[in-house]
Every structure is written in structure tokens, then in C-alpha cells.
Symmetry: C2
Subunit: 482 residues, 2 copies
């Protein structure tokens, strides 16, 4: 560990983060909503803390090593989430204590989108804007994390995407490559956000709502400026636009990059994960549509709309709602929650276990069956044209098992703390998959959850966002040994 | 596939099975309960069907191949379960239709112990005896399946226990080795049963109850002759005896065999699975004890008793109850249901995923974490002194994923069919883990489940008992190709 270097970066991160209070201050001034001082205080506090941490270590410069990478990633989400809670805590939202502010901030930066606030429509514009912006910033972080950092750290089989380096990376130089990749992908991310905001605006949203929702759409975040979420606009055009941008944001951003460079859609159609992603969403859409139509809860046209919108929203782990899907008939609510476990594609802003991992598990399961029938055949699992290395498949399996284990432990503690089974299951699923809305008591918001429960769900969000192992590694003594 | 040979064996199995109607006939005569003719009819029907199948193929003899093994194992449990339903269907149990009879028979032979009957205490002795005997016979089948057949078929990593053969078995000769192993293990099984029956009798059970419960104890079955299960006897001595024999029956029978031969307990203490089994049960016992004691549902002494008895009963997947554990406080009921996923040791009569598989998953998970910290270290997973071959670990992971997938699919269909989430989750868990009692509406019995639900749960029992893949393989077209 190069402690000084890591602390120096933390300082820089905090100072950079403090500048993100400026847009909400501007919003506050424009709308005259009186919440500007809260953000100014948060800005100063973050800036000074950052400076105090940075200054003594300002000369500490060295190549970052793999191990530092884990620490920086975890710090990014935890420390910024805590500092991000400051303006929310200072504001005068009703029935809102420190834990609530921290929960909301974690939920924002991890792009989970679970909220403890009911009465969004009455909040100051600056606060609303800030929440949306938190998700957008979180989304920026995730793209770098997913496309550049996780493959390098080798988390949960993501070394699969480390195409350039043939062997294992020996504490390789992290910095230069990340910077280059990040720039290209942020460009796409920004482009998507602008396109999304314009589309929303054309479809009838106010400029404020259009920008706000574009933030939480491309970040697969799901925060809204209205309690009724996307349903507030009551517009099928907006739902369609939202569906399209959620679907796009759930795709690996590297694919977007290659497609943009080649000006071709071939990179998509050739990608096995993309095909699995579309297949799965189509399949669940059909089941939801049939279920909704048969139950006569909606008419034919509405059944199609609602089924498409919610399948994409939950399937990508965005968590927008245009109706109360937790009240859908039969097994549909649970099916959607289960779909969120699959989540978006690797390298997207989506949460969950990721489509590619499920694809690999499925292929390996099929191979096991083949092996039983032909015990002596040599059967290899392929992804596209690439033969899957044993170490990647082991990492994916390990990821899956660790996901289940962490899930069960958090769920059991929540139930011991007094939550009912259905709520606990869906709350942990919604937070760990970075989805947002759950079933039961957390279908609308998380205000009824106990303080302990909120802390645990913050942990679940963090575990999910950091793909379990980034955080788990830090909890082992071996990590801290020199 | 050697169709004639397989059909010939099916005929023999049926004829053998028909003779198992004789003890209930004897019981019926002793108690004069009037149900004897039902069993006589079932005997004749099974015998004649068996003969009709056997006779045309009586000369078909050939070495069995691996592929035939899958078919015979699946046939053993399905065909015999259907024929085993005959006397139950013929009897005049109230509100008992054909599906109920089949469910009860599957539940017996798979040693699940889920029942659709309420009012056991009023049933004829012969019917009660027959249910217990079904479990005992199922237990005999499982031991051969688990110790001899699954390792040879290579199901879910169980080739781990194929110590004698170094390489993969090339459609090896199945028959002679199985016969030898089976005899030795059945001897132990019989010995345990007798010891258990005598202990129950000494502790105060009637001879009938003692024999009946010894059957379902060593088979890890959980059927009882009373609605109140073991709780009916209201005797802590009986609960302790029951706990001990459940704990013993949940251990790998090969271990018992080696320990018996060497007259030593070393084989146990050296076995990593045994140590994990005891550790896990102890851990859950402590949590249950603390939970029960804190909640003041029981006093100190009772809390210990109840916690020990139920942890062992659910942990080994026996499913006996001495109180309504589904009404225990907080997360304890769910914790116990989750413990049943781990289940007994491989090679025991217990159900679930098996301790050794969880041990391997845990070790591999730990290795993944180590690998992230030391990317270049060569880390191997060991079980005792044995280095785990890659193909075994792949098989175990495949097993785990297939288990989860089948579980989720059956649960979703049950919920779509109208079952609530908690009941559906626990019902599928209880049936697939061959546990028996669930939570919610299936805490006492399964009579409220729909016909479709009962069929699905029969399927779940079968999937669980046949370790998923034995059945799954038969559902692939590749299996049926020559
Ligand atoms: K989300
Ligand atoms: K059982």
C-alpha cells in the first residue's frame, strides 16, 4: 500500500467533488428556492477537508498498483457518499435525519435510486437537481469502474474484458490507460445524456425535468423529481423515449464506442452478451404482457406499454415506474425483481450480476449436462469466438456464490430486525442489484425501514455497485499485510 | 441405450416392490384395521405389471452402461412412486384424491416427508406403517444412489468420491461394485434402524411407534404416525434420541463403514465434510438458542432442547417437529429453511445440496479473494489432503447454479398459480431439499396446495432427490440419441 499516494488522491477526489455543489447552487439561485446556502456550506466543507488531506501529501506521487486500486474505488463511493449527504442533511426535508441523508446519498452515487423521501414534488428545485446529479456522477464513476478498473483488478471474471493484456497483470501501471478510456467513454455518456434530455424536452417535459430525468436515465439510476416517477407525466411518448435510453444505457459502453468508431451496428449484433440481453428482456416482456393482458388489469395497448416499460426499467435495474408494478398479478412482481439480478450488461451503468455472467453460467451448466452424457468429450465454453479460460469461469462462479451469500446474510439480519420476509427479500434485491424500488413495504419508498436496516441497505448498495469482491477484499486481513 | 435390459430391470424392480406390501398386510391383520385388501390389490397389480414387463425381456442380459444408470435411477423413483400410491388411493382417507396419493407416495420414497394428510392419528395402522416403510425403502435407495451410483455417473462433483478409479469411467461396468457396496451399507442402515427402534421403545414409545419412527429417522424422512410429529410424545428423552439418530444418519455412510471396520472414530474426525457438518449445525443451534431465549418463547432449558432438536431436524432435512418452528421469532424460521439447503453430508440419507458442496464453494470463494490480492500466486483448493480437480469444482458450481435455476422456475409457476411468496419459497425449498415441512400455509401440511402445485412439488422432490442432473440429463435430446 502506498498510503500517501492514496490519501493524496482522496484529497483530490474530495476537492473535485466539492465543485459539484456549484450546479445546485446555480439552480437554487435561478428558482430562488433558498437552499443555496446548504450547498455552499457543503462545498466549503468538502473543499477544505479535501485540501487538508491533500496538502501534507501533495508531493506523494507514484505509479498506482493493483492493490491501491481496490482502496481508491471503495473510497470513491463511500467517502463521497458521506460527504454527498451533507447538503441533504442541512436541508429542511421533513422527517429526515442523518441516516436518511446518508441513505439517499449512497442510493444516488451507487445509482440505486431507492429513496426515503415521500413528497418529492414539494422539495426545492436545487435539492431535486442535486439528487439527479448524484446519480449522473455515480454513473460516470461506474463506467470507468466497469470498463477500465474491474477488468484490471480481475473482479468476478471481468478480466474477460482485459483484451489487450494476455497474461495476468503484475501490479501493472493503472493510470495512463484508465485516463484514455475514461475520456472516450465519458464523451459517449455525455452525448447520450444530451440526446436523452432533448428527447424528453421535445416529448413535453419542462427543461428542468428533462435534464433531471436524463441524468437518472443514462445513469440507470431511477431517481425522479416526482413521487409518481415517470408515471407523473402520463405520456406514452415519454415512456417510449425513456425505455429506449434505458435500453441503450444498459449496453456495454465499449460496444457503443466501437460502434461509433466504425459507424456500424455490427459490433452490437456480433456481441453474445448484447444478444442475450435483448433475448432475455424480450422473453420477460412477453410473459409480463400475457400476464397483464389475461388479468385484465390493463387493456391490450396499455398491457404492451406497461410491460415494455417496466421490463426494461427493472431489467436494466433503472427502477423507474409508470405504474405500481408491485401490485401486478401473480408472479410478475417477483419475476421482475428476479430479472434485476441479471441486470445490465457488463461495462454499462446497469446493476445486478450482469448479463455476461449469467450467460457464462448458463453455458457452463449446459456443458455439465453434455459432460454427463459424453464423459470423455473435451467440451469448452466459448463466448463468441473466445474460449473461456478456466480462471475466468472460476471467478464468475465465485462471484455468483459470494453474491448469494452476502444477499442471504443481509436479508437474515433485516428479518431479525423485524422486517417481513417479502419486504426484506425485495429490499436487499433492490439495493444490492442497484435497482431501487422493491415490493411490500418498500414498493414506494424506504422511509419505513429502521435505522439499522438503512445502514445495512447502504452496505448492500455498496456491495452490489463494487461487484462484491472489491469491498470483500478490503475486509480480509491479507489485504492489509505488506 | 439397451432398452430391453432396462425394461427387464424395471420389471424386476416392480416385482420386488410388490413384496413390500406384505408387511403392511401383516400389520393390518395384527390390528384388524380392515385396510389389508387395499395392499393385497396393490401387491397383485404391481406384481403382475412387473411380470408382464419382465417376461418378454427375461433373456435380455448385458452389462449396464453409464447411460442406462441414469434411466434406471430415475425409473426407480418415479415408477415406484406411482405404484406406491395405489394402496393410499384405494384406502378411505378423507378428502384424498389420486394426486394426493401420488404426492404422499413421492414424498415417502424421496424421504421428503411432506404430507397432505391431516388426521394421521385416526388412520389405520397398516397405512401409517406403509408410509413409514416407504421412507425407509427410499432411504435404502438413496444410500446406494449416493455412495455407489452418483459418484460413478459423476453427478454434481460426486466423482470426488470415486476414489478407486483414477481417470474418468468409460461406460464402466456398474453392476458388481454396486452390489458389494450396497450390501455393506444396507447392513449399517439396518443396524442403525434397529438401534434407533430399541432406543425409542426404551424411552417410552409403543413398539409400533418405535419401529415406525425408527424407519423415518434413519431415512431422514420425517413422516410420523401423529399430526403433532415427535412433539406428540412430549418427552425430552425421545427428542434427544431422535436428535442423535438424525445426526448419525446425516453423516456419509461410507464413513460409518470405515469407522466400523477400523473400530475407530478417527475416520470421522479426519473428514473435512463431517467437521463442517458439525460446525454448521453447532453455529445455527447457538443462533436459534439465543433467539429463542431472548424472545422468551421458551425458558432456558426448553430453549436449548428445542434449538438442538429443530436445528438437527431441519439441518439434516429430516423435518420432524416437536413444536411449530414456523412460528419462531424473527428470522429463525427462514434461517432453518436456509440451513436445509445445505442439508446432510454426501453419501447420507439427507437431502439438500450437501455439506461437502458448500464446503467446496466456500473454499473456492476464499481462493478467489486470495487471488485478487495475490494475482500471480498458484492457489489450489484442497479437501483434506486431496487437491480438488478442476472438473469436480466445475461440476459443483454447475450443480449449485442448476439447483437455483430449477428452484426459481418451480417457485415462479407456483406463485403464478396463486400461492403467496413465503409459502411458495418455503414449499419449494422443503420439497427440493427433501425436508418436508415449510412455512406459511405449508407449515403443518400440504393439503391446501392446488393439484398443479402438488405435481410441481413432486417434481421438485424428484429433482432434489436425484441431485438435479440425473433427471435433467433425461430431458435433453442428446441423451436419447444413439
Ligand atoms: K437504479
Ligand atoms: K425429510
Amino acid at each position: 500500500m502506498q498510503r500517501n499516494v492514496v490519501i493524496r488522491i482522496l484529497g483530490i477526489l474530495l476537492m473535485l467533488f466539492s465543485t459539484t455543489m456549484l450546479p445546485p447552487i446555480a439552480v437554487s439561485i435561478i428558482y430562488g428556492d433558498g437552499a443555496g446556502t446548504d450547498f455552499a456550506i457543503a462545498l466549503m466543507f468538502s473543499l477544505l477537508t479535501g485540501l487538508a488531506i491533500f496538502w501534507p501529501n501533495r508531493h506523494a506521487q507514484a505509479e498506482l498498483k493493483t492493490r491501491d486500486g481496490f482502496l481508491i474505488v471503495v473510497m470513491f463511493w463511500t467517502v463521497l457518499s458521506f460527504f454527498g449527504a451533507i447538503p441533504l442533511y442541512l436541508s429542511d426535508i421533513q422527517n429526515f435525519n442523518l441516516v436518511d441523508a446518508i441513505f439517499e446519498s449512497f442510493s444516488g452515487l451507487t445509482t440505486t435510486g431507492a429513496t426515503v423521501i415521500s413528497g418529492l414534488d414539494n422539495l426545492p428545485h436545487s435539492i431535486l437537481f442535486y439528487r439527479q446529479q448524484l446519480q449522473w456522477l455515480g454513473g460516470m464513476g461506474i463506467i470507468v469502474l466497469a470498463v477500465a478498473i474491474l477488468p484490471m483488478l480481475g473482479i468476478g471474471g471481468m478480466q474477460l474484458y482485459r483484451a489487450e493484456t494476455p497474461g495476468p497483470v503484475k501490479d501493472a501501471k493503472l493510470t495512463p490507460r484508465i485516463a484514455g478510456t475514461a475520456k472516450a467513454l465519458w464523451f459517449i455518456y455525455l452525448g447520450l445524456t444530451i440526446a436523452c434530455a432533448l428527447s424528453y424536452w421535445v416529448a413535453g417535459m419542462s427543461p428542468f425535468d428533462a435534464i433531471s430525468h436524463s441524468f437518472s436515465t443514462v445513469a440507470i439510476g431511477g431517481f425522479s423529481t416526482h413521487d409518481a416517477s415517470i408515471g407523473w407525466f402520463n405520456s406514452s411518448n415519454i415512456e417510449i423515449i425513456c425505455s429506449i435510453f434505458m435500453l441503450i444505457s444498459g449496453i456495454n459502453f465499449s460496444l457503443h464506442f466501437v460502434a461509433y468508431r466504425q459507424l456500424s451496428i455490427q459490433p452490437y449484433s456480433r456481441d453474445p452478451e448484447f444478444r442475450a440481453y435483448i433475448t432475455l428482456i424480450t422473453l420477460v416482456f412477453i410473459i409480463c404482457f400475457v400476464g397483464l393482458f389475461i388479468s385484465q388489469q390493463f387493456n391490450f395497448r396499455e398491457s404492451i406499454y406497461k410491460a415494455i416499460f417496466h421490463t426494461i426499467s427493472i431489467g436494466t435495474t433503472t427502477g423507474f415506474a409508470s405504474s405500481d408494478f408491485s401490485a401486478w398479478p401473480g408472479m410478475l412482481p417477483l419475476l421482475l425483481i428476479l430479472l434485476s439480478f441479471v441486470g445490465g450488461c457488463a461495462g454499462s451503468t446497469g446493476g445486478g450480476i450482469k448479463v455476461v455472467r449469467f450467460l457464462l453460467l448458463f453455458k457452463q451448466g449446459m456443458r455439465e449436462i453434455q459432460k454427463l452424457i459424453h464423459p470423455n468429450a473435451v467440451l469448452r465454453v466459448k463466448l463468441g469466438k473466445q474460449i473461456l479460460p478456466e480462471k475466468v469461469s472460476n471467478a464468475v462462479w465465485g462471484f455468483f456464490a459470494a453474491y448469494v451469500a452476502i444477499f442471504v446474510i443481509i436479508m437474515l439480519i433485516l428479518i431479525a430486525d423485524g422486517m417481513d420476509q417479502v419486504t426484506a427479500f425485495s429490499a436487499v434485491a433492490a439495493c444490492m442489484n442497484n435497482l431501487g424500488p422493491g415490493l411490500g413495504e418498500v414498493a414506494a419508498n424506504y422511509s419505513s425501514v429502521s435505522d439499522l436496516g438503512k445502514w445495512l441497505l447502504c452496505l448492500a448498495m455498496l456491495f452490489g455497485r463494487l461487484e462484491i469482491f472489491t469491498l470483500l477484499v478490503l475486509l480480509t486481513p491479507a489485504f492489509w499485510r505488506r
